[in-house]
Symmetry: C2
Subunit: 388 residues, 2 copies
DNA sequence: ATGGTTGGTTTAAACAATCAACCAATTATA
DNA sequence: TATAATTGGTTGATTGTTTAAACCAACCAT
C-alpha cells in the first residue's frame, strides 16, 4: 500500500466529523470549513456517497445572484448502528444508536448479574443481543459501560465494583467463542461523558465534568444491597480523561470521615435516611458541591452535567451545587460554570456507551495508541465490504 | 502550494520528536519506530542534516553478522536557542536552552516591575535581552512565564497577579515596536509543567500535577508585600491543561476559611509565621496534601512535582503530602503516585518557559487551533532561511 | 576473494491533493 | 427569449509525499 498514510484518513474523518456537526453542508461549504480544495472534497464525498455512508439530503436554494443549487449532504443513518449497554447487577440497560446518532431503541433487560456464574450469563446475553439486533440492523460495534475500573485500550476489566466478573478479564473473554463484532468496554461515568460530548455538536474541545449519582435509597429498592455512590467522568480538551491506570474519576470527599466504604463525611447510617431526611440530603449535596467547586477551580470547566438515578432530587442538587460553586470560586471574575441535568435518565450510561463508538469514529487524532479503536472512514468502508 | 498538507509536516515532526527522545538512532531505527520506509526517513533526514538541524553523531558498530555501520543521528543543539523568562515584580529570571534542551545559561536580572510604568520598563528589557542574546546565539523564540491568567493562544494577559501590566495586554503590545522574534507567554505554573514534560524524555503522555509554591515568608524578604501562594499546573494526557478560559490551576482549599485573599483555612496572620512556627507549617502542608489527595483520586496522576521557593522545607512538605495522599486514597489498590522535588530551584519557571517552546516544536497534533505556535520542521527551516 | 548481511541511496510508480479549465444550473438583464 | 454573470460541482494535468525494489557501501566470516 504505497503513498500517504495520514492525509486521506485524516481528511476523510475530518469530513465525516464536519458533517456530523453540521448536517446539510454542501461540498463547497465543506471545502471552506476544512480548508481543502473543492475538488478534493468531491473526491472524498463521492465514494462515501456511493458506499451509502453519505447521502444527498436536498437541493438547497441558489444564491440570489444566480448559480447552481448546492446539494446538501448528510450522514446516512441507515448505513449502520451501534449498540450501547450498561451492565448493572440486576440487569442490562440498552440503547441503540444509528450512524446519525438517533436513538432507535431503548430497553431494560432484567437479569441477575451479581451472583456466582454471572460472568457466563453476561457472556451469553451479549451474544444473544448481538444476533437479535444484527438481524434487524447492520450492527457495527457494541459498547458496554460498567461500574469499575476499565482498561478501555486493552478491553480489560481491572476492577469491577459490583458485578461478579473476575478482575483482569477481557471483553472478548466474556463471550466464549468471541463476538462477531468489536466490543468496547468503558467505565460508566466515562460513558456518560461520551454521551455529553456527542450531544453537544459544537465540535469544541469541551471540559466537562459528569457527576453520576447512583442510589438505591432514593428509589426505595434495595434488592441486592443499599448504596449511594458518586462517580465522576471527565472530558478535558474534548477527550475523555482516564488517567494513568484508568483510575480517574474516583471520588472521595476531602471531608471524608474515615468510614471504610463511604465516600463522604456522612456515615452509612446517615446515608440510608437520604430519602426521608432533607437535612441529611442537604448536607450531602453541599459536601459534594464543595468538592466540585475545588475541582472547577482547578480545571476551569465548561460545564458540569448531573445524571444517574437521583430522580426528583435533581433540581435540589443542582441549586445547592450552583451555590457552592459560586461561593467557592476564586476571586477573579470568571463566567459561571453552567450545570445541566442529563435528560437521558437511567439510559445515560448505555446511551454514552454507544455514543463513545460513534465519537471515536470521527476522531482525527492519529498520534495515539488507539490501534484497537474504529477508525472513521476506513472502518466504515471495511464494514461495508464485510457485509456485502 | 499544491499537494499534501499534513503528511510531510507530521512525519517531519514525529522524526524530530523521536530523535529528541532517543538521541543517536540511525535512519533504519527511525524507520522502524515511526513505521515508515527507510527511504522515506532518508528523504526526511538528509535535508534536515544539510540545513544543520540534525547531525551525525558517530558511527555505531556493525552487527556481528556483518553489514555496514549505522550512523547515529542527533538534533544539533547549535542550530538555535530559546530564551525562557520568568517575570517577577522584583526582576526577571532567565534560562537559555539550545535545540538539544541543554541549559546554556541561567541568570537573574533585578528590576522593579511592580510600580507604575513597569509595563514600559518590561518592554524595553525584553527588547534589550533579545538583542543581547541574539548577538551570541541564533535565537528562535522567547517564552515568558508570569503569575496570572494568560491566553497563550492569543498571547494576551487576562489577569496579572502581581505585575503592573494592564489586563488584556498582548505580548507584542508590551514591546512598542514589536519583537523581532515570536514571544509566547504562559502562566508560571504551566511553564513548570512544560519543564517537567521536557525533562521526562520517555515520550509518554504523562499526567502531571506541578505544585508551584511561592513564598516570601520562608525567605525573609518581603520587599513589596508578603504572600504565600500555591499555583497548580496540570499535564493531562501529555498536554498542558489550560481550561475553558485559561483559568485552570487556580487553587482554593476546600477547607478555606473565608478570608478574602487567602487560599487556605489559615489566616494571613497565621501564614506570616510560617518560617518560625512548625505547627502552622504542618497544618498548611497537611491541608494542601488533603486537597491534592482528592485531586489525585479524581485525575489518577502519574506523578506530582513540587517547585518554587520553599527552600529547606521541601522535604518536609513532600513527606506530609505523601502521607495525605496515602490516607486519602480510594480503597482499591493503586500504585503510589510518586512525588518529586524540582531540581531547578528558582529557575523552574524560566526553564519551563523555554521548554514550552521546544516541546511545541515537536508537537504533531495538527487538529488544534495553534496557528500561532511554532510548527516543528517547517519553523526550523524557515528560521534558517530568515537567518541565512 | 567470496558470499552473506546490514545501512543507506536512487529510481520508478502510486496516490492524494492542488490548480485550472470545464460543465451544469440558476438569476438578472438586455 | 437570448445572453451574461454567478455559483456548484466535475474532470484532467501537475506536484508533493510515500513506497517498493533495485542498487551501492561497508562490514563480517570463511
Amino acid at each position: 500500500m504505497p503513498a500517504n498514510q495520514f492525509s486521506s484518513q485524516i481528511n476523510g474523518n475530518r469530513l465525516l466529523r464536519e458533517l456530523w456537526i453540521n448536517r446539510g453542508l454542501s461540498r463547497i461549504q465543506l471545502a471552506q470549513r476544512l480548508e481543502l480544495d473543492k475538488s478534493t472534497v468531491s473526491l472524498l464525498v463521492n465514494p462515501l456517497a456511493k458506499a451509502g455512508i453519505l447521502e444527498t439530503i436536498s437541493e438547497g436554494s441558489a444564491s440570489s445572484r444566480g448559480g447552481r443549487k448546492p446539494l446538501a449532504l448528510g450522514i446516512r443513518g441507515e448505513y449502520t448502528c451501534f449498540l450501547g449497554l450498561e451492565i448493572q447487577p440486576d440487569g442490562i440497560y440498552l440503547t441503540l444508536l444509528d450512524l446519525r446518532g438517533r436513538v432507535k431503541e431503548t430497553r431494560r433487560i432484567p437479569e441477575d448479574l451479581a451472583g456466582p456464574g454471572s460472568a457466563a450469563r453476561l457472556g451469553e446475553r451479549l451474544l444473544s443481543l448481538y444476533w437479535e439486533y444484527e438481524a434487524r440492523y447492520p450492527l457495527m460495534a457494541m459498547g458496554a459501560g460498567l461500574s469499575g475500573i476499565v482498561d478501555t485500550r486493552e478491553g480489560r476489566i481491572i476492577k469491577a465494583m459490583l458485578l461478579d466478573i473476575k478482575e483482569g478479564c477481557t471483553a472478548q473473554e466474556l463471550v466464549p467463542g468471541g463476538l462477531p463484532c468489536p466490543l468496547i468496554i468503558e467505565n460508566d461515568a466515562n460513558c456518560c461523558t461520551w454521551g455529553e460530548l456527542m450531544l453537544n455538536r459544537e465540535g469544541e474541545k469541551e471540559n466537562i465534568l459528569f457527576l453520576l449519582l447512583e442510589s438505591d435509597y432514593f428509589q426505595g429498592r434495595s434488592e441486592y444491597r443499599g448504596r449511594f455512590s458518586l462517580g465522576m467522568g471527565l472530558s478535558l480538551g474534548g477527550r475523555v480523561h482516564r488517567g494513568r491506570q484508568f483510575g480517574a474519576g474516583e471520588f472521595r470527599s476531602i471531608l471524608w470521615g474515615g468510614e471504610a466504604k463511604s465516600q463522604f463525611s456522612l456515615s452509612h447510617g446517615d446515608l440510608s435516611r437520604l430519602g426521608e431526611n432533607p437535612a441529611i440530603r442537604e448536607k450531602l449535596f453541599r459536601e459534594i458541591g464543595r468538592n466540585m467547586a475545588f475541582l472547577n477551580n482547578a480545571l476551569d470547566l465548561d460545564r458540569i452535567c448531573v445524571g444517574g438515578n437521583i430522580e426528583k432530587y435533581g433540581e435540589e442538587f443542582r441549586s445547592i451545587l450552583a451555590a457552592e460553586l459560586a461561593s467557592g470560586r476564586s476571586y477573579h471574575s470568571r463566567e459561571e460554570c453552567p450545570i445541566t441535568l442529563s435528560s437521558l435518565g437511567e439510559y445515560a450510561v448505555s446511551f454514552g456507551a454507544a455514543a463513545m463508538l460513534l465519537m471515536e469514529l470521527f476522531n482525527t487524532d492519529q498520534s495515539q495508541d488507539r490501534k484497537n479503536a474504529l477508525q472513521g472512514r476506513e472502518a466504515l468502508e471495511n464494514f461495508k465490504h464485510k457485509q456485502g
